[in-house]
Symmetry: C2
Subunit: 201 residues, 2 copies
DNA sequence: CGAGAATCTGACCGATCGGACAGAGTCTGA
DNA sequence: TCAGACTCTGTCCGATCGGTCAGATTCTCG
């Protein structure tokens, strides 16, 4: 029976490689990231990467899979019992939590989800987005659709890409002075304002 | 002296290749698009591509350059005389026009601007975005920043990426039933609501 | 017509890609 | 102790990449 130490050691290589791959994919893009690059970044050889993951695609799946699964669950539940303002509010909170908790994976998916068509895990994510869009669009006016689209896409892109955008710039200290909690509150506020009419609109 | 026909012929190859490259970059990403792919898509040989454009980077610059220049002008003017609601309103209208008029280029820049660092034309675009962010952030609360970020990023992503996202899906007929004018009006409305407080907020 | 520029292409180059594979080193449990 | 599984790496492979170059073809204009 493996001890705690060996379990940690065992799981470490695969986890380290998965995390390194996620960072590289988010920074340089899937196509522009080589297995050698990932291996170097994690401190292993290219062969080791291919020992732990059968292919570059398998590595992508491991890197973004958990985030996609969270998205599927969230969208699935929303697609059923939407309509009430309370349900919308709950969805907004969980959506923002997903963005904050899976920044890198969300960034990879959002920025490259379109160009990575054909890869199963990406296809699943795209399908989830489609379900979400469907739930939003059916029976809604163009203005309402636009409000929803701008809100969700805006929150996603402003948070995820924006954070990375200014990562190694002189603005760093400004951006990093905000905690995740600050961001969460501000984001939830904006989304609530956009999606849950306080007055009779 | 070249006739109209010859002028058309002369300019055509370069333009066709530029357009083909833009489409391929937007669809598959810069790194994942090969010169051979662009050549095939435009009906030329790979050598012809490199005859008209010195390198793959030069082709990217030709493809997204005009859109970046429009962005620079727009941001430059906004960064000076902002503050008034009228100025904001004018900015919103021109921003949406830019998005609608340069969909593909904007999509390339937005989705890959981060991973294509180091390429001069991309760096210029990133600098313009930074100027815009600066103009928004200085003296603004986090909530205001977030409102602006969500609005601009949301409009960009919802329109550009969203449009491409559903391009070859069963939703096509729904999305395409809206004209650019419809989209423009709806987008301007949402952005105005977010950025120009109608009531005393 | 004919010289020269402009356009286009196929053949070719070194580099790098994702991946296969055999073997070295390490760890585990009987 | 030792056989077998697990982990890791160096070497090698075919394919494809961006880019060079010489030559074929077409176009322009005196």
């Amino acid at each position: 029976m493996p001890t705690d130490a060996t379990v940690t050691t065992r799981a470490r290589a695969g986890d380290e490689l998965r995390q390194a791959a996620l960072e590289q994919f988010a920074t340089f893009g899937f196509a522009a990231t080589s297995l050698q690059q990932i291996a170097d970044h994690a401190g292993y050889s290219k062969s080791s990467v291919l020992y732990h993951y059968a292919s570059k695609e398998a590595l992508l799946e491991a890197a973004v899979g958990p985030a996609i699964e969270r998205l599927e669950v969230l969208v699935g539940e929303f697609a059923e019992g939407r309509r009430s303002d309370a349900a919308r509010g709950a969805f907004i909170g969980r959506f923002v939590d997903l963005l904050l908790g899976e920044r890198l994976a969300v960034h990879v998916f959002v920025s490259q989800g379109h160009s990575l068509r054909g890869i199963p895990i990406i296809e699943r994510g795209n399908a989830a987005i489609r379900v979400l869009a469907d739930a939003i669009c059916t029976g809604a006016t163009l203005a309402e659709q636009m409000r929803f689209g701008v809100a969700l896409a805006g929150a996603t892109y402003a948070l995820v890409a924006g954070a990375i955008f200014f990562d190694d710039d002189e603005m760093e200290e400004l951006v990093e002075s905000y905690t995740d909690d600050d961001m969460r509150v501000a984001l939830v506020d904006v989304l609530t304002e956009l999606l849950i009419p306080a007055d009779g609109r």
